[in-house]
Symmetry: C2
Subunit: 475 residues, 2 copies
């Protein structure tokens, strides 16, 4: 966690990519920067956040989750190895097995601190402190919805129950967090007064929870910022993803001074889940590359996600952050060209930081000749630019006729290359129907920039005699 | 689009759920509200946004996408029926088939306006205006990354090219949008000066694009709000989801005065895609229920998503907004209890608005007796609360031993009920191994609240004699 950048700027600001617009001794030639790059102010914890990993608590509330003891231990060890700060476990009051598993995980001797998450009630707190955990997370609903339809208690009752539990857990020498539930539909005055009360009796952290997933980023920023002025303890935040803001809200919470973010692997939890560990890594590595790569073993992410996905019998979503199959796939011609020149053009995350690879998709009608050029080089073939433009036109025409696989494109490139250097002319592709063949020829003729194409062909003829043979595509 | 609420508040503010804290003639008994509920200010377009649906442009850049003409037409018709304002298509310059498809979709006579998306170049613009589209979206990279590594043009060139294209498209009587690319890594002064220049020559919309997915919500709010003060035309925004902020950024853009949001079905696009149509609906229905339900045919969402998922051969992610299999599944005991009392406790979106259903998961060790009570009622059985608490304890104990399906829980409930009313006592579950049986008995004995459970059993004995027989679970 040592910083690689040292300057008189705050670490947050200095490590933001692009935040190099201020001339300093360490940065004598600042690049012009976008003033909209967020400037880390004194509140921001973007560069020193901690993770409370809740796959074994919130994640167990996911519809498909049934973790046996062995699976829980495997997940806990993997999360610990990844580098999360805390691992949160299901309440020992939920069932006898939950209690035993809690004890078993506490005995593993992990670097991460172990927490369990219980109702704000002395019975649960007593059970919790006996499991060997490092800390207890207590929670109670504070919104009018929950007070009316769930536990039916008033704010005075809640405050007294909280203080009793907090003092009990502290007396056992353990960490203690107090969280409201459904914080964004709770009365602000109620919220602040209970947080202030628990802060005064020495709670370690207070928690804000968007239990129903209704909060929006600027709301989160405002509430956390206000709370930051009311309490002196740490602030933990927990965001559900029902309306698609779980990662953004976590980020805005950190900007406003929150210290801890709850996550789960692939975001599993109640309903469609919470802030995903991998998605948070994607967000935070863009905000502070050095902090994130220095603290977490990012190349283990895929392994952990695969382990959890298998345990709960789900597929990794195609569009999952970082590890989804298309996360680093580039397709459009203009994108592919730029990516091949400089990956930063269309990539804000370096896949190598996660042990992943970039893939430039060239077998489509949106391809461009730069993508094909790169492929030609990968295949170890030598062709002039003019020749590459010609074969690109053929691949695009074919992609108009039917979906083409990488194999198809490779085969066209190889055959085209072969034809360049041989007397005999092989068909570029062998299995087109008559209808497809006609369509292909039409597409080839009509390819946009007809004149440009003709010029290319002429250039190709001049450059390299064999290319002058207009390669025929025959059934 | 008539509003169902009339008051002297702005429509935005009045229709926010919970924003009822101000006493008016129409709202004489305001509920205490959370002051952090966003208050619609005069900039906000949260209650009058428009959708530019780009499945047939951005979506075609998704790794797996190959849409034939028939599929494109089916998708365009479905999106039109859903109620999107615009449908954006791949450039006719991409390939001959793209041009023909563009013409074919323009001829369908849809209510939605048809756009095509081209490079900022007269050749592309000429092709575009001849396809019959209602408008042309032009785009050019303005970041230093793209200017250096993609097209290599300077800002003066870009401005002149833009003005030429805009005046040409306007002369044909079509709508015209000018967008920068990679706006959040472009120089702010460059950006504002080109937007100001194109606004002066009468562009219809300007576009901000987070092409690499690096923007964060407060950055978006700031940039859009600044731009809102510079141009008088509409503002469109386009957000990639690489760092998990695509929906949140769209929402903050609307709060800051953006008018149009780009979406695609299930978010498909370059890399892991853009703001998903369904996810945006989830976000916006929470912000303005009446506007969203009045304008869009939300119950068609699942059908459209299934159609597109099939066309690009992907599975709908398990955690997809609204239509994912677990979007409305509730599992934890305290959640289930409250949901059964009042769904608003743990649901910010009513699944019925989308033709979906809620599902309370009761076959797990996290279940509570309220969930089981609801299931008992669904099964048409009559049991006292004490009896239900007893069978709940048995289900939790069993769920500790092995994963249980709904069938298992139902079978336990039915057998338990049968035993209540018969002389003979059947085993609650028939296929446990000896080891499982021992574990089950242990779990039952150890169930938290042992004393409480005994009291329940006594109460049950007093209430209903047949329940006094301690139901045995035998192999």
């Amino acid at each position: 966690m040592t910083k690689s950048v040292s300057s008189n700027l705050s670490p947050t600001a200095a490590s933001h990519p692009g935040f190099t617009g201020i001339r300093t001794a360490q940065n004598p030639h600042p690049r012009p920067s976008n003033p909209y790059q967020p400037v880390g102010d004194f509140l921001s914890n973007v560069s020193r956040f901690k993770i409370i990993e809740s796959t074994l608590r919130e994640g167990e509330q996911f519809a498909n989750a049934f973790f046996d003891t062995e699976t829980k231990i495997r997940i806990a060890k993997a999360l610990d190895d990844f580098g999360v700060d805390y691992i949160e476990l299901t309440s020992p009051a939920a069932s006898e097995q939950s209690r035993l598993d809690c004890e078993a995980i506490c005995k593993l001797g992990l670097k991460a601190k172990i927490l369990t998450h219980v109702r704000c009630h002395m019975d649960d707190a007593r059970l919790a402190v006996e499991t060997g955990v490092d800390g207890v997370d207590v929670v109670i609903g504070t919104s009018s919805y929950l007070r009316e339809h769930s536990h039916g208690k008033d704010m005075t009752y809640i405050k007294n129950a909280a203080i009793e539990v907090i003092e009990f857990v502290k007396s056992k020498g353990l960490e203690i967090r107090f969280s409201s539930e459904d914080s964004f539909r709770s009365d602000l005055v109620d919220l602040l007064s209970i947080y202030s009360a628990v802060d005064k009796v020495g709670v370690g952290r207070v928690g804000i929870a968007d239990t129903v997933g209704c909060a929006s980023p600027r709301q989160v920023y405002d509430l956390v910022r206000t709370l930051r002025g009311v309490v002196s303890c740490d602030i933990e935040t927990h965001f559900h993803n029902d309306t698609g803001c779980a990662i953004a809200n976590a980020y805005c919470a950190l900007e406003a001074g929150a210290t801890h973010i709850d996550t789960s692997v692939i975001g599993i939890g109640e309903r469609n889940g919470i802030t995903p560990l991998g998605g948070l890594m994607a967000r935070m590595i863009v905000a502070d590359h050095d902090y994130v790569t220095g603290k977490y073993k990012l190349h283990k992410l895929k392994e952990i996600e695969d382990m959890v996905a298998e345990a709960v019998q789900i597929n990794i979503p195609f569009n999952n952050y970082i590890t989804g199959f298309c996360a680093f796939t580039h397709k459009a011609g203009i994108h592919a060209k730029a990516i091949l020149n400089n990956p930063s053009t269309y990539e804000i995350i370096n896949p190598a930081d996660f042990g992943m690879s970039r893939y430039v998709h060239f077998a489509s009608r949106l391809t461009g000749w730069n993508a094909i050029k790169s492929r030609v080089e990968q295949l170890g073939l030598e062709m002039t630019d003019a020749q590459i433009k010609l074969v690109t036109a053929k691949i695009k025409a074919l992609a108009d006729v039917r979906p083409i696989a990488i194999d198809d494109a490779d085969s066209i490139i190889r055959t085209f290359h072969l034809n360049l250097h041989s007397k005999e002319e092989k068909p570029l592709i062998a299995d087109l129907t008559e209808e497809e063949q006609a369509k292909f020829e039409e597409a080839e003729r009509q390819l946009s920039g007809e004149g440009e194409k003709r010029a290319l062909e002429q250039e190709a003829e001049a450059d390299a005699a064999p290319a002058a043979k207009k390669a025929k595509v025959a059934a």
